[in-house]
Amino acid sequence: MNREKKKGLQNRDNMGYLFIAPFMIVFVAFSLYPVFRTLHMSFTDYTGFNEPTFIGLANYARVFKDKLFLEAFGNTIKIWGVNIVLQLGTAFLLTMVFSDMKYKMKGLSIFRALFYLPNLIACTSVAFLFKTLLDWKFGSVNQILVGLGIADQPIDWLGTPSLTRCAVGVIGAWMWFGNSFIMLMAGVQGINSDYYEAAAIDGAGRWKIFGKITLPLLKPILLYVAITSLIGGLQIFDIPYLMSLDNQKRARSVNTAVMHLYNMAFKNRQIGYAGALAFILFFVICICSVIVYFMMYAKKEDER
């Protein structure tokens, strides 16, 4: 009797396989397997039409000699630099302001929603919106700047490479800072209020409380936000691609690593080589993530 019952229960536990089976099948077929397929292609001269021939690491060696890719990678870093400083800087400042105990700012939920708004809009729409707003002749931005007397003459935002890169970085920050802010703020709200009460009883000032309680306890989320922004930032594609579709010169000035990958795969039909680019990019992202991780945790050791 007992054994039978146990057996029945075990069978029930095995029913779990049934529940996860559809997910696992689709996951393996459409997510996991394509990654290995890309890996396999990266070792071949595959163009999408030919029978792939194994060429070893030749594609990977080519990546480091590909001037256009190195240039694209440089552009990515420049755009990403502007983006990350503004995005995380703004999010962090806002978190400080809204968690400040002296000013007790109100309206968090409304502002949070407003800050998040840009993130909801399709990249295609954002890109076209800003392309038209930043237009040299008819763009509203120049009309405002000239109208207010900030600029004497219209600024050629999309014709000057460094300005275009800056603009793309700022748009990225504009889109994503709300997301970072919501996550950081959730982290602050998750901190046990007992810590704050204890610190207040001990007579700690608000800056000291921020530095000694909020910041250290926020570290895991800060790390999470930093790494996800890093991964997203190094993969930037939609905005620069869409803003430069109609202009070769502009396309070159904001050519990012993933744009180069896309062009190689779908315009030049060098799918094997594009696969190698994807994996090199993945390794770079992994290495950067590890560096960010150790930077943040090495600091913690120093403090002790």
């Binding site: 536990d13 029913m15 779990g16 529940f19 996860i20 559809p22 997910f23 996951f27 459409f30 997510s31 996991l32 397997y33 394509p34 990654v35 890309t38 292609m41 999408g48 703004t90 806002l94 302001v97 000013y103 700012m105 939920s109 929603a113 998040y116 708004l117 840009p118 909801l120 809009i121 399709a122 990249c123 295609t124 729409s125 890109a127 076209f128 919106l129 038209t132 707003l133 008819f138 009309q143 109208g147 997301n179 996550m183 959730a186 998750g190 989320i221 991964i231 993969q235 939609d238 579709l245 109609d246 993933v258 990958l261 795969a265 779908f266 799918i271 994807a278 994996f279 990019l281 993945f282």
Partner: protein
């Protein structure tokens, strides 16, 4: 003296509010400009800046209509977004329930594996995915845009945490003694209890699908099958539109307004889902 400190505090507070309101304006202004410019003629937009709507909305719309089949793109986007959201919701709930309540062999290992995979950037699979779709003759079909949404690791992760926090395993015992089948129990008990969590994730996956650009771009060749983002992106190749800037704004506005409406009603849920994603790390 005390009064002095108080005034200083009030001034500082006012400044902080001013800064935050200014930042909010920066977030809204582009959308306001988009809506306003959609109602103005190309000539008006080029020569002056204004926040007062014009009267050329219909003219602009006629230009759009001549070049792009927007209603069609709208229906395509709705169809894909709704079906993939339903699939994501149902199968993520099913999978989360399976991982949460059944102690089968390899449960932990599989779940951890999926979580690790979430960190792998999408670009890595994109080429293999595209090539696989070519081989399976699924290019220009909606299947590659819909079926993969059955496997949404982030949603599964969220729902697993959710169901573990709202549903005690003991709830399964009574129907089991009554001889109910496991799937029946899931549909009658698990699914309703998970509903609020599922709804939260639905909003996010609907918006993600609605906004998705790269995959529809590489999969869909026939303009009739295009989704709204692909249509919006094709604008730059339409010559007529480049001269009629008002029409561009109308097209962008049409793709943005549905999301703005969804957001007005559901912003609370969207934000709570992002917030919980980071805390339960």
């Amino acid at each position: 003296m005390r009064n002095h400190v108080n005034i200083k505090k009030k001034v500082m507070q006012a400044l902080l509010y001013a800064a935050i309101v200014a930042l909010s304006m920066i977030c809204i202004l582009p959308f306001v400009l988009m809506l306003v410019n959609a109602t103005r003629s190309g000539n008006e937009i080029m020569t002056s800046f204004s926040l007062i709507p014009g009267s050329s909305l219909m003219d602009n719309w006629m230009v759009v209509k001549k070049n792009l089949d927007i209603p069609r793109g709208f229906m395509n986007s709705i169809f894909i977004a709704v079906t993939s959201t339903v699939l994501t919701a149902y199968f993520s709930a099913l999978t989360a329930y399976g991982f949460a309540f059944y102690k089968f062999k390899g449960n932990k290992a599989l779940f951890t594996g999926i979580l690790i995979f979430m960190m792998v950037p999408a670009q890595l699979g994109m080429l293999g995915f595209y090539d696989l779709m070519v081989k399976m003759k699924l290019i220009d079909s909606y299947i590659p845009l819909i079926i993969p949404s059955m496997a949404a690791p982030a949603t599964v992760f969220f729902l697993r945490q959710y169901i573990l926090s709202v549903m005690p395993k003991a709830l399964l015992e009574a129907p089991r003694i009554d001889g109910a089948g496991e799937l029946y129990i899931f549909h009658k008990i698990g699914l309703p209890i998970m509903a609020p969590g599922i709804a939260t994730m639905c909003i996010g996956s609907f918006i993600a699908s609605w906004n998705s650009y790269l995959i529809p771009l590489i999969i869909l060749n026939t303009p009739k099958k295009w989704t709204l983002p692909v249509m919006v992106a094709s604008l730059s190749s339409v010559k007529d539109l480049a001269t009629n800037i008002g029409a561009t704004y109308v097209t962008v506005a049409i793709s943005v307004v549905p999301i703005l409406i969804v957001f007005c009603f559901c912003s609370k849920y969207i934000i709570s889902s992002i917030a919980s994603g980071s805390v339960k790390e």
